[in-house]
């Protein structure tokens, strides 16, 4: 049996079978041998997150991992890179499901400009709204192609994280 984990835009099919000192892992059909070498103390961080440092060997190569588990995500740092795993069954965070036409503010900020109007047809990647947050301007782009059915964003307005800015009905 296997389970699915979301890693960014990818979904991985994973199976992990316990062995004497670790696990036999299968990731998207590829087999790996994982040995657990040791672990640091488990601590509790902000918001009840669990944090642990782990030493592992994967296919004979040693890795040191720093792991933090929150309610809906596991963040893992290995070799200067961070992997954010979400359980595959979960919706994709607060910004609405992946590929939906609901575009909301990823963080509090100010709307600098609104680049689309209601009724307009947009393509994937088309710039919709320019948002200023943390002293930087960021462009929010369409994740789906379709027709803009509502524009809630107003230039100059302050928005909170999660505020709906633009809705697109997928074509």
């Amino acid at each position: 049996m296997e389970t699915r984990l979301r890693l960014g835009t990818r979904t991985l099919a994973v199976a992990l079978v316990p062995e004497a000192e670790g696990w036999a892992a299968t990731v998207d059909g590829a087999a790996h041998r994982v040995t657990r070498l040791g672990a640091g103390p488990r601590t509790t961080a902000a918001g009840g997150a669990t944090v642990e440092e782990l030493a592992l060997e994967v296919d004979g190569r040693p890795h040191r991992a720093l792991v933090a588990r929150t309610r809906d995500r596991v963040l893992v740092a290995v070799a200067g890179r961070v992997w954010a795993f979400e359980s595959g069954e979960e919706a994709r965070g607060a910004h609405g499901a992946a590929g939906s036409g609901a575009v909301s503010a990823p963080m509090p900020g100010k709307v600098v400009s609104v680049l689309v109007a209601e009724g307009q047809v947009v393509e994937v990647g088309q710039a919709l709204v320019v948002l200023e947050a943390m002293k930087m301007e960021s462009t929010l782009a369409a994740e789906v192609a379709g027709r803009v059915t509502s524009v809630r964003a107003v230039a100059g307005a302050t928005v909170a994280a999660g505020d709906l800015l633009v809705e697109i009905t997928p074509a």
Binding site: L5, A49, V51, V58, V67, A79
Partner: protein
């Protein structure tokens, strides 16, 4: 004039850095903090910390009245502005001096002149410093002026900075719209709609010169820094020396930097920025009248503590060394760690820092403004800290910095850590082939990757095991998380 207690009108890594310099030199350091920064690392780095207001910078770190009140209340007799916020505000410098406090920075008039791009161009041009060919746009014929310069060109705001009020113009047809948009943006951002035209150089490098002057007539340069790796006109990787500077060009550029500084009677630490074109011609860009984010790499190779020098100069002491005493050794590179997502248009990220590991070892320096258990607030610039490394040569510096970044871990907000490593590993960077369009050219479609995904996955699932009974006794969340059920199911089956 003496200085005993320094109010640090800033936050984050630079406030920590300044507090360290104060401590080393027997000065008391006073931190200030907004309500969003209660308990932030910079407040612990100082001898005391004074609250200055609500989270928005305009009510706290940009609030001149609140800062002066904090100085009075804490008995500080000097103010160090760091960089950003009010560091380049002549009005703040004047207010500090009018309050009878010592300003740790250049003369207010030098800040004002260099802060007005048109005044700065005119002033340094009179001192014989080469300028990017450009022209002021008054009420006259902008199109004719633009044709004389040639396309492509840039429209820039006279009061500009940070890319605001700036437009690239490829052809004459685009000029009217670009002028109007730049004027509008400049008026909104700086309450000053004046703009000018500048020739757009092809694949230029950003090369800047650090200068340091005391109030007794000594003015020296500390060599150059190359800062071409930029996204949105902001640097993320800086190095010294510049990989392509010949001794002759270095002599010319440092002499021009000193001439520019002298033209405004400069004292304290400052940076004269140039663009260097592919034919080895250089042009004055602007002067930053403050300590620079990337000052550590100059400290690495010269052994001179720039912040300590600022404090000594402000107290009226002579610099204590001359140009002949400044000798650079080896190569240093800095990487700026930002809470932002390079795979999503460098969208800033905020929130709690769940876990943090900072690197160390020979030749590695960390200037950090964050701590595990802290929060990256949404109100401020997303710079978390800087990691820099020194090596006898460039390859060694790159190797050390790469290893240091690999040893670093930030769990919580998304950071550019992996991106920085990929920049350092890029063949063009290794060859020193950098220019201000480097990131758009090589990293426009960057996505995070890495071969350790399986290890990460295994670690994720290993932590998902049900915790030991002792952990249960301390009380865990009542409802099992998807990870616990997944882990228990997976590992128990």
């Amino acid at each position: 004039m003496s200085v005993k207690a320094v109010l640090i009108a800033n936050r984050g890594e630079i406030a920590v850095r300044i507090a360290r310099a104060c401590r080393e030199h027997g000065l008391a350091a006073v931190a200030v903090y907004s309500e969003a920064d209660r308990g932030a690392p910079h407040t612990f780095a100082a001898d005391r910390a004074v609250p200055i207001g609500p989270p928005p910078a305009v009510h706290s770190y940009l609030n001149i009245e609140a800062l002066l009140a904090a100085a009075r209340q804490s008995g500080a007799d000097a103010v160090h502005p760091g960089y950003g916020f009010l560091a380049e505000s002549a009005a703040f410098a004047r207010a500090v001096e009018a309050a009878g406090l010592t300003w740790v920075g250049p003369p207010p008039q030098a800040i004002a002149t260099m802060g007005d791009k048109l005044a700065a161009r005119a002033t340094v041009a009179r001192a014989g410093v080469p300028l990017v060919p450009g022209t002021e746009v008054g009420g006259g014929d902008a199109a004719a002026a633009a044709r004389r310069l040639g396309f492509p060109l840039l429209v820039k705001a006279a009061a500009g900075g940070g890319g605001k009020g700036m437009r690239t113009v490829a052809s004459e047809a685009e000029l009217p719209d670009a002028l109007a948009a730049a004027r509008r943006e400049a008026e909104a951002a700086f309450a000053d709609g004046r703009v000018y035209l500048e020739k757009l150089l092809v694949r230029p490098r950003h090369v800047e010169v650090q200068v340091l002057g005391d109030r007794h007539g000594t003015l020296v340069h500390l060599g150059e820094r190359e800062c071409s790796i930029q996204r949105r006109h902001q640097k993320i990787v800086e190095e010294t020396p510049c990989p392509v500077l010949t001794p002759r060009l270095r002599t010319e550029m440092t002499a021009a930097a000193l001439a520019a500084a002298r033209a405004v009677g400069y004292t304290s630490a400052g940076t004269v920025e140039f663009l260097l074109d592919v034919e080895g011609r250089f042009y004055f860009l602007e002067m930053n009248t403050r300590v620079q984010v990337e000052h550590p790499i100059t400290e690495w190779v010269t052994g001179i503590d720039i912040v300590a020098a600022q404090l000594r100069i402000a107290a009226g002491a002579p610099l204590g060394f001359g140009q002949a005493d400044v000798r650079a050794r080896g190569h240093a590179i800095e990487a700026r760690l930002y809470a932002e997502d390079p795979a999503a248009g460098f969208l800033p990220s905020a929130g709690p820092i769940l876990a943090l590991r900072e690197p160390g070892g020979p030749g590695v320096r960390v200037d950090s403004g964050i701590a595990a258990g802290g929060v990256v607030p949404v109100e401020y610039d997303p710079l978390l800290g800087k990691i820099s490394a020194w090596g006898e040569g460039r390859a060694m510096a790159i190797a050390r910095l790469s290893a240091a970044l690999r040893d670093t871990a930030v769990l919580g907000p998304t950071t550019n850590l992996a991106f920085l490593q990929d920049v350092l590993a890029h063949p063009a960077f290794r060859r020193g082939e950098t220019h201000t369009g480097f990131l758009p050219e090589h990293f426009a479609t960057w996505q995070p990757g890495g071969e350790e995904a399986v290890a990460a996955l295994a670690a994720a699932l290993a932590l998902a095991r049900p915790a030991a009974p002792a952990g249960d006794a301390r009380g865990r969340a009542a409802a099992p998380t998807p990870w616990e059920t997944l882990g228990a199911w997976r590992l128990g089956s």
